[in-house]
């Protein structure tokens, strides 16, 4: 027994020293690939299948990186962590279905918009709710925590005297499943994702559309410390013009025509002021 205690003491100490030694040293060198943060539970934009990152944002980001001639690696994080991680420069680029908002533009710098979404109200297939009744009168509405839909709902609906309750989820998939078993009455989600859920055979339908023309874009840390915003903008234009973008979109959402790039560029975003980095002919006057 003495032997056991002694060897326990010894092995534990050795293991601790070895672990602390090895795991704490993340060496940073100039050749390191850029880290692209994604929320990989957000199909069709970014998800993981059989251990591989997939999705529109993933493939497009890879195509842009090829255009730019840089190496990238993807890092999955929960959506609410992505912007803090970008601010803290734990990741270099944020590439998820990220909606451009005024608030976010204060913390991070956006590329030119590469997509535009409108939100839809999802209800169960057999539901008799319509777009108005689904978001009023005691309805419990599911959104993903930290999403632009949550922000929009809080700004436009929850604060007013409409009687609704927001249920915040880690991911939209959970929200949609919760709606199926009756925990919530409806889900507000972007139109692209909604189409994905319907294509996947979920027993849901679109009750109506909320036209918000929300631009989606990539983002880098505020002030563009890595000096990559210009190349990213050029890369986005390049894959759009070469048809690669259309090809990627159609791979994930067959039969859809992507919005033109650059899309609607709100003037509250300072990186959209003329001249836009890398694309000097663009921008708001």
């Amino acid at each position: 027994m003495k032997g056991i205690t002694t060897s326990l003491f010894r092995s534990v100490t050795v293991a601790a020293v070895a672990l602390v030694g090895s795991s704490l040293s993340t060496t940073v060198s100039a050749q390191d690939p850029y880290t692209v943060g994604v929320e990989a539970s957000f199909p069709p934009w970014a998800y993981v299948e059989s251990g591989e990152f997939k999705g529109i944002a993933i493939d497009a980001m890879q195509a842009i990186a090829d255009e730019m001639g840089i190496d990238i690696q993807f890092q999955d994080m929960p959506f609410p962590s992505l912007i803090p991680a970008l601010s803290a420069e734990k990741i270099d680029i944020l590439a998820t279905g990220l909606t451009v908002t005024e608030e976010r533009s204060k913390a991070i710098d956006f590329t030119i918009p590469w997509w535009e979404t409108n939100d839809v109200v999802l209800v169960p297939e057999d539901s008799d709710l319509n777009v108005f009744t689904a978001v009023c009168c005691g309805a419990r509405i599911g959104v993903q925590g930290g999403s632009s839909q949550q922000a929009w709902m809080e700004e436009n609906v929850v604060g007013s005297d409409i009687d609704v309750e927001l249920a915040k989820y880690d991911s939209y998939v959970t929200a949609v499943d919760d709606m199926a078993i009756g925990r919530i009455s409806s889900v507000i989600v972007d139109d692209t994702s909604a189409q994905e859920y319907i294509n996947a055979g979920k027993a849901i339908e679109i009750a109506g559309k909320i036209y918000i023309r929300a631009p989606l874009a990539l983002a880098v840390s505020k002030g563009d410390p890595q000096d990559i915003l210009a190349s990213l903008n050029q890369g986005i234009m390049a894959i759009y013009e070469s048809g690669k973008w259309q090809e990627i979109i159609n791979h994930y959402i067959p039969g859809i025509t992507p919005p033109a790039i650059p899309g609607n560029m709100p003037d509250f975003v300072d990186t959209y002021a003329k001249p836009v980095a890398g694309l000097p002919e663009l921008g708001n006057e």
Partner: protein, 222 residues
């Protein structure tokens, strides 16, 4: 392809996630053990000056009082201003330091349950304090510590899933990948994950109970 085929196809990734969870668990428990034991020994046998004892007490209170998710954020984003720490290292540190606070309490009450006469007798025979602790007090305290330590082990297994908030892809997150890429199947996938956690927990507990039986002393009250 139905969910069972996907589960079979992607099972290696669940195992990989389990592996990450196990490494994280082992590392945080080791840090917690070494540091927790040091804190306990300093509290019980170190100099009784406030200069030493107050910081130890403060450490223990803070790390036991702050939710782990907050700690994870503080360690990941906070430390990165000074040192470029990886998410995995930040998780090990945050969870290991917190476990140290809990383990120091487990060890402290285990050491205190060893009668004072044991230390006195060892010292009277000419043992140094360090030798007495190692050869006489520790083996007896270990018996008292294993029960509560097993609880700490079990609760830390569950906590490893929280490391995902700073991007550590462990078992729960791997399960999430399957759920999102197949658009649902929450119940089936998480049932499999729950089973994996259960097996890990049982395996760990059995080892610890075996160690406890080995330390049992005949004729001594249980």
């Amino acid at each position: 392809m139905d969910i069972y085929d996907v589960l079979i196809r992607d099972f290696p990734f669940l195992l990989k996630g389990l592996g990450v969870a196990i490494v994280l668990l082992a590392a945080l428990l080791v840090i917690g053990f070494v540091l927790g034991m040091s804190i306990c020994l300093l509290q019980l046998y170190g100099p009784k000056t406030r200069l030493l004892q107050w910081p130890l007490l403060l450490y223990e209170r803070v790390f036991r009082g702050v939710p782990i998710i907050i700690m994870l954020f503080i360690f990941y984003y906070g430390i990165s201003g000074v040192y470029d720490i990886s998410a995995f290292a930040a998780a090990i540190l945050a969870m290991g330091l917190r476990s140290a606070a809990y383990q120091s309490q487990i060890f402290r009450s285990a050491f205190q349950s060893v009668p004072a006469g044991q230390m006195m007798a060892a010292r009277a025979m000419g043992m140094s304090k360090a030798k007495a602790i190692r050869h006489i007090i520790f083996p007896q305290a270990a018996r008292h510590a294993i029960g509560p330590w097993t609880n700490e082990f079990s609760s830390e297994i569950k906590e490893t899933s929280l490391a995902y908030v700073i991007g550590v892809v462990e078992l729960t997150r791997q399960a999430h990948y399957i759920i999102t890429s197949t658009q649902g199947n929450v119940l089936i996938v998480f049932a499999v994950v729950a089973l994996l956690y259960f097996v890990l927990n049982r395996a760990g507990n059995s080892l610890l109970y075996a160690y406890e039986r080995k330390l049992a002393v005949p004729g001594f009250e249980k």
